[in-house]
Symmetry: C2
Subunit: 442 residues, 2 copies
């Protein structure tokens, strides 16, 4: 091919690619449920002291509920973790301030969520909307405004019409009943392909302590319509500092251990409310038997919800668990796990069912963690793939390929150096991810 | 949809997606030239003191040259930069050791490159191959083995057959001539869709100093077949420490300022050889007029080659320049630039020609740099998109969309805080990237 004809071919190729992109954008993205979705939404128990309602405020969607309200009895304590983004949304800033201040437990509390508009990067109008909505909820529910928490998820940079929300408050307050977590899970969805819920029970001092939670998120975490929001309710009696400590601890091993695309939302919010009505002896120590029982049940719920978010990762066809062991330090283990879980080359290899262990070696190498090529061992599932600086003698491509054909893939890296360990979950990177994110908006 | 029928739909969807993936894998990836390729390979001058040859060793490819040899006259000095990967390949470790030791300038030197096999993660056999190849070249060319540098690019984890290479050395040594950089650029290609070359001339002390370079890389930088290799030759008279200092300095603003997928090769190598035959007064000071003239010409060549690598980014249809200004510090500026340039959501928006500035806000927020929402300004090309914490009053979606339809996109972020600035180049993320990386191997 001469350079002249190469040049003509280039322009033709460019024109063709732009035409394909335009055509793809005009197609609706469809309503396929993720192939990794759980079989069914679980039967979530009602939590004493929590009443729920959902409604259709028509903020962006029509023909579906898009707001949810949780009303909490007096005595409830609330803990939370939020996005670390420097451009976090107005409702996130409001929640953070309120959780940092001492709470009046004699009053009730409320959590309100809307889907369809993130109220993020909306200037001073954004915080004005939060003030108007929380004030209206405070008045209607007779709880102090300092105990009203809101989240918004959806498009960035468009004003959130507070009047549409405020006009629904009477209806929601009247409708709120002890059940209804499944409806709430559906009302907060945006690009999610299924509703996400999980529950667990802990035996504490002879009492059954229930924990039930819902989450939304699809893509970890697209800023437009795939913010991650999580609400967990429990009837446990637990001191607020103990609850906050446990939530932060478990969060590191659940929601902070998942990634779909390495992008971070401006709105990520996780709130846990404990109503104290289970009759258990109040948990104040996170490290005694009661604290540990509660922590384990909370971890079950949070890990389950976190993995459900990955299973709904945009375009996902594979759930990938990344296990890193014997790293030089805990921090190094996380560097390696994140490097593998975020690597486009590892994720596309998974999409192609290609046991491409060279890409795992690459991701270990680029992580910044201490690594010794000759001490490294890599496994796909239980199959030893590479060790001592080369492919394992026992390894066959057939065995590796068979593991990669599974819907749930496990990549383990043993660094052979120290005690550091980390476990993360991610999904594969497919053409469907590009379709959703290149072709999507308003 | 009931949960039972949802479940059945999920399994059907999963089966369908796996079938599509299998089908795609069996298709050849085609030989389309990137739509962003330069119009033609430039006319590269011969560099006095450099002789080149290429040959077909049949390591992986057939019907094309896959090895190149550069023979350098006595007096040549060599500088280099290499991948920071902890799992870097045997030839990289060998080059690093040799550059760190004092060189005997009375002897000549050689650079040898093969394509098709990276000789990476090949255990102790890997360094054995490097030793055998460099020893054979040393003997044939009568240069010390400490002055023979090699690079390998291609598949990871497969033994590199040294005898295939060694059997070609006589032919290459006999063929080496002062011209031939274009052939060399073609011989080192793997998944590249076009050969990459660039040149510049600096006037130093009345002499014309020529700089000519070639590069390969497509995907920054896939570890299998898209390692980035760069070889630059100049007839400048320059002291080795000055050359190394300038190469490292310019590298930070050229090859370290590009990204295709954020993945790092185990083999990245950039070598610059200066033969000292231009007749210029020897450059020893990098900061006087001569040093600056040479540095500017070197930067022209390195930036040109670096951008050519991005233009050949796997699946690329857009070249994206990311400009960050007025960051709190230089380090913060790079954090923000990298966060934007590596964001899958920003890159898919570019692929979809979507002026989705909310994703730029997200990428600024997640970068870890100091940012103040209300001081931030975002521009697409010359169009002011957002300022003062909200969309700009003058902004229209039509203007933003028109900019995104260009083949070369410019995203500028003014943080309004300090003096820090950074500029990076990346490409869009398209379905073709997934195709290449999910469907490619063996």
């Amino acid at each position: 091919m001469t350079y002249k004809s190469e040049r003509r071919a280039n322009w033709r190729a460019a024109a063709r690619l732009r035409k394909i992109a335009r055509k793809a954008r005009s197609k609706p993205s469809g309503s396929l449920v993720s192939p990794l979705a759980p079989e069914a939404f679980p039967d979530l128990p009602a939590i004493s002291g929590v009443r729920l309602a959902t409604g259709a405020a028509g903020i962006k969607y029509t023909g579906r509920d898009d707001v949810m309200l949780a009303v909490l009895d007096p005595g409830s304590v609330i803990a939370g973790v939020f996005t670390a983004s420097a451009t976090r949304a107005a409702p996130v800033l409001d929640c953070e301030q309120k959780l940092a201040a001492p709470a009046d437990l004699k009053s009730g509390a409320a959590i309100f969520v809307n889907a369809g508009n993130a109220n993020a990067f909306t200037g001073s109008a954004g915080s004005g909307t939060v003030q108007a909505v929380t004030a209206a909820l405070s008045e209607k529910l007779s709880v102090p405004v300092s105990r009203v928490f809101t989240s918004s998820t959806g498009v960035i940079g468009e004003p959130l019409p507070s009047e549409k929300i405020i006009s629904k408050i009477d209806e929601l307050a009247a409708k709120a009943v002890p059940a209804g977590l499944a409806d709430a899970a559906r009302a907060i969805m945006t690009t999610d392909t299924y509703a996400k819920g999980a529950c667990a029970v802990a035996q504490i001092g002879g009492a059954d302590v229930k924990i039930a939670g819902i989450a939304k998120g699809s893509g970890m975490i697209a800023p437009d319509m795939a913010t991650m929001l999580v609400y967990i309710f429990t009837d446990a009696a637990i001191a607020q500092p103990a609850l906050q400590s446990l939530v932060s601890h478990v969060n590191a091993r659940s929601f902070n251990a998942i990634t779909v695309d390495g992008d971070t939302s401006t709105s990520d919010t996780l709130l846990v409310a404990a109503t104290g009505q289970a009759g258990n002896p109040k948990i104040t120590d996170t490290e005694n038997a009661d604290g540990i029982s509660f922590s384990e049940a909370l971890e079950t719920v949070m890990k389950d919800l976190a993995q459900q978010v990955v299973r709904d990762g945009e375009g996902a066809t594979k759930l990938i668990e990344v296990n890193v062991t014997r790293a030089d330090s805990e921090a190094d283990a996380w560097l390696v796990a994140k490097s593998i879980a975020n690597s486009p080359l590892v994720k596309t290899a998974a999409a192609g069912e290609d046991p491409n262990w060279g890409r795992v070696v690459m991701a270990v190498g680029k992580s910044g963690a201490v690594a010794d090529r000759d001490k490294l061992a890599i496994r796909f599932g239980d199959i030893l793939v590479a060790e001592k600086g080369w492919v394992a003698k026992s390894y066959t491509e057939e065995a590796g390929a068979a593991h990669m054909q599974r819907a749930e893939i496990k990549i383990s890296v043993d660094l052979g150096l120290g005690e550091g360990a980390a476990r993360m979950w991610t999904c594969d990177l497919t053409k469907r991810y590009i379709e959703i994110n290149a072709d999507y908006r308003s």
